[in-house]
Symmetry: D2
């Protein structure tokens, strides 16, 4: 049994980790921290977990996280970077679901996140936790930077094209739409149902923090910098990301075969039949990315449609997938959920 | 392994049966019928099931349902009554998720459902599949009438009070609210997102088909006819029923203790702490009924709040629970889903 | 031209006043206060008002409200009671959209609102602004207490029955459902789209602040105290209240005729044909209450369905209606909006 | 008074015409046809219109449309082309809200709409009703082809750039998102709340009927064919279109000034301040297009955000605007609605 601790489990990625780990055959959550809510039973805050989670929140001091095998940080940016080193020194493996270790270039990170990095010495060792790219490195990792939600959907959609060198990587467009749970469980006016319901808008067009993360991942695959326009939008639903990706083809190729071949052995990436339009609800609650590839009117623009559940393959599910790799479990352990439809 | 057939699996209760049975350790779906869609892979119609269900729809003829151990009818009213007898004669056990066998009084059934009953000889043997009331009878049943969604939420909420004889059973009020999946996967204008979204309305105030079913169940518990006003409403969400129940207390009693005691051994009924307000999302995707009981301002009106997922405890989940009882499985087999929140 | 000031126009009732008054032929908003946002153009915060409202928010000091003819308080509870006296002394008429002057009994108000009343001397003069009951008094009023949203829907539904003396006023039930804009434009976790979306729940069953207001209004009509169980619910939509009202008939009567007669001359109350089920969207954006009355199965329980837009007839629209009465305008001035459907 | 007839007013564009025309000072609807619902009062089908519309649906024969001054076709594609000639011959002006006269090239139209055109002789005279491009021609038109919803949002967004010749018109991308009312008031499974709610998907990537319409309009502005990739999506809301447009800049220019200048005299196009993100709700119920233009990270990709209400500026509102032009009314007559927010 893997002894698991979760730091900051009062947000959506935290409660989703608890949902997934409640069914994991080889892991047991032994500590859930929240300084503010210490003493409160987890199931009192999240009644959906009644009967599934018996723990109460505890202070970080009482949680004795150094006795865990694995600690997840489901915290805001800037927390894990100050607390990971001590855990790693104690032999604990760490997965950060926030952004602290996602960008290898410290200056770039500090520019986008607006703070000084607290543990630059760990950046080199941190492994970017996208199993479809880094599986072997993740197996041996002590510290994993769990990818952002948009970066997961966008990279999985662009990677086959970039790796095969069949598109112009200087003029990529990623038009992305997210449900509101991506904004977290924070009291903010713009995310009220009365504001975000029955409404659609773009945000962050001038520059979103996931842009450098996506560029870094695609550049690694391309072996050179890429040019990317990334526009995120807020759509009035709870879960789900839909990435619509545009690129210019530089050579003719069988796109359907290319995608099917790239993901033939990936259990969590599902390439749909030619002509399909994946729906976000088809992955609701599950750790799956479904992808379709189109070439409208046979022109030289390729359009990729990529959907994930932002809280699962875009956060907690991918984190569990990474834990499974780090501890030698079946990669699907705890991730057998069938999507909830309707 | 229980060999399972599903008749009419292109609706929401059918696809939900498939979702739940996909994780059942002792059951395997071997036939899924749909005359219209015969030959189509189930997962082509419901991409959420890709990777979980490999079957194609087949015609009833090809399905060889008599070779199954268990057949679920997820069909409109009026189908199972004409097909069940043949299956029962072949030794197959049958659960009807529609209303054909729910009302014991043939004339009453024919009045509310507007057709002649096709198998009145089966009405006496059919067991009403509410395990919290009829567990032993279900264990031995050959034919189970799976309860309606409203009747499940309303009966579980009223039963402790009626069984204890502490309310006036002649003046009951059940004000119920349902998500739109309760209307089924049928092309109807009133259920369009553009019609039912951002909108709230009552319907069927003059008389809804679930009224006689609820009255029958409560009368059985009361040992006498009951008086019930039942008003269903449509609320702009996908899954979930919230029943708000009103009754007049005829004697003082510890309501919280009464409810906790009544359901102490029920794994799928969760009595919340005093003062709680259950939310429908706290049972989304799970076979649980959560209940809270209130006595506003200490007056003589008792208010019970009861929530279920209409497609799970209100339909497919309860059907699996009944199957588990009929075949001696653990009552929770295939029903371990943690509710999806948010 | 009536010179209008609005105090606290950054919430939903404030922006709704601005929407309605933008089309009012005899009123002109000259001051909109918000200490926090002073200097910000109103249309910068609410882009829907671009091209319709040219004002900027100003501090209360700069707003020179005493030069207005009419001041609306669209503020939280407890503000108007401390500021109204000075305006009234300057000859300004005042309508409070909050609760400060709704309850005539000071002790009762202080119990439910948890604060000491700042202007008890004004309670006697304040007129309760439900025109269908108090039209003449409103015409002569200096200070109007605009009714709450639930109290408007519930009173309009019960009044014909109570005034006619045909029901038992000791056992009333009001089961009410509200869209989330009723909670205001406040940053609160429970009102996030990710929390309140696709979800249904009751709240405040132990006692909601609108209970004493409704009881006061119904008692006045009955000439005696009434017994009322009031259960509010939150439904996942933006605007709208649906009140489902239950009462026991004490004498036979033509309910449809009773309602039609009571509201024959009311331009903002629409009694639907017998058998109807009013939808909240049928009044979206308009100052209308639509009502249907039912007697299920011909029994002795009467069911009234009453819908309003909580921000219009339940708040800003009713306030404009009151202003029209106070200034001798056509009661419909500024209130000609056709409901937005779909 | 302009005597107005509406053919096929049981759909969303029809009921929206009725809502807008109910407040028009110079037009009066005298006939509303629906063969299926002849005799039914309009307000019985659409209770939102109670008190605003007193007409009943009539058969086309009884409607005496040739006595109207103006007839709107709010019908499916393929109806107006067979009925317009007779009306035009009688001196009636005609606006078709469907697609029959939008494409000048008959063969192109027949290819995309899959039928033989019934009145090719009218194609040359029909004026494309986008006032911001064709105002003078519309004033003199007898027959107006009202633009599609996507084409309105996309053309208004791209036109300033194309007319100024500052982008590469061969590599345009239009990523568009629509609320579900765009699919019409038709009973279809995919548009049910239980299907389209809490879900996001693309559709028609291989080729949508609005593609040739947009290309035709942009080509006219460019003076040469354009290359366009157009991907529509369905978003879980009722009204609204959000177009996110991407183009490659071929010369440096002050984009904000370009847009402000282009639309300086347009009362229904609102260019937002630099850095803005227009929301669909900011135009809900109003005949306004709000636009923002961005140049992310100062690169050579321009991103235009354009929002409309698909039923108003994208359909019925634009039709009324066209009628106003054709009859010499103030262009804003009947179009003074303030958007409904929240």
């Amino acid at each position: 049994m893997i002894k698991v601790g979760i730091v900051g489990a009062t947000g959506y990625t935290g409660v989703e980790l608890l949902r997934l780990l409640a069914t994991h055959p080889q892991a047991r959550v032994t500590a859930v921290t929240s300084r503010k809510d210490a003493g409160t039973p987890v199931a009192a805050m999240f009644p959906s977990l009644r009967g599934h989670v018996d723990l109460a929140f505890s202070t970080p001091e009482d949680a004795r996280l150094t006795e865990c095998d694995m600690v997840f940080f489901a915290t805001p940016n800037g927390i894990a970077m100050n607390e990971a080193a001590q855990l790693l020194a104690a032999g604990v493996r760490v997965i950060d679901l926030a952004a602290d270790f996602r960008i290898r270039d410290q200056a770039e990170w500090e520019k986008w996140y607006g703070m000084t990095h607290g543990a630059p010495q760990l950046l080199e060792d941190a492994v970017y936790g996208l199993p479809e790219v880094n599986r072997e490195a993740i197996r041996g990792a002590r510290l994993v930077a769990n990818p952002g939600c948009y970066p997961t959907a966008v990279q999985l959609g662009f990677l086959p094209l970039i790796e095969a060198g069949v598109i112009d990587a200087a003029t990529l467009v990623a038009d992305c739409k997210s449900g509101v749970s991506g904004a977290g469980r924070k009291a903010e006016v713009h995310a009220l149902l009365a504001e975000a319901g029955d409404n659609f808008k773009a945000y962050g067009v001038a520059g979103h923090r996931h842009l450098p993360e996506i560029r870094q991942g695609l550049a690694r695959a391309a072996g050179a910098p890429v040019g990317l326009t990334f526009v995120p939008h807020l759509t009035p639903m709870i879960r789900g990301i839909h990435a619509t990706l545009y690129a210019r083809l530089t050579q003719d190729t069988d796109l359907q075969a290319l995608f099917e071949s790239r993901y033939a052995n990936e259990r969590f990436v599902d390439v749909l039949p030619a002509g399909s339009h994946p729906e976000t609800r088809s992955v609701r609650g599950a750790n799956t990315c479904r992808i379709a590839v189109h070439r409208p009117q046979g022109g030289d623009t390729v359009v990729v449609l990529s959907v994930i559940d932002n809280l699962v393959k875009g956060a907690a599910g991918q984190a569990v997938q990474n834990m499974n790799l780090m501890f030698g479990c079946d990669e699907q352990a705890g991730l057998a959920q069938v999507p909830l439809l309707p």
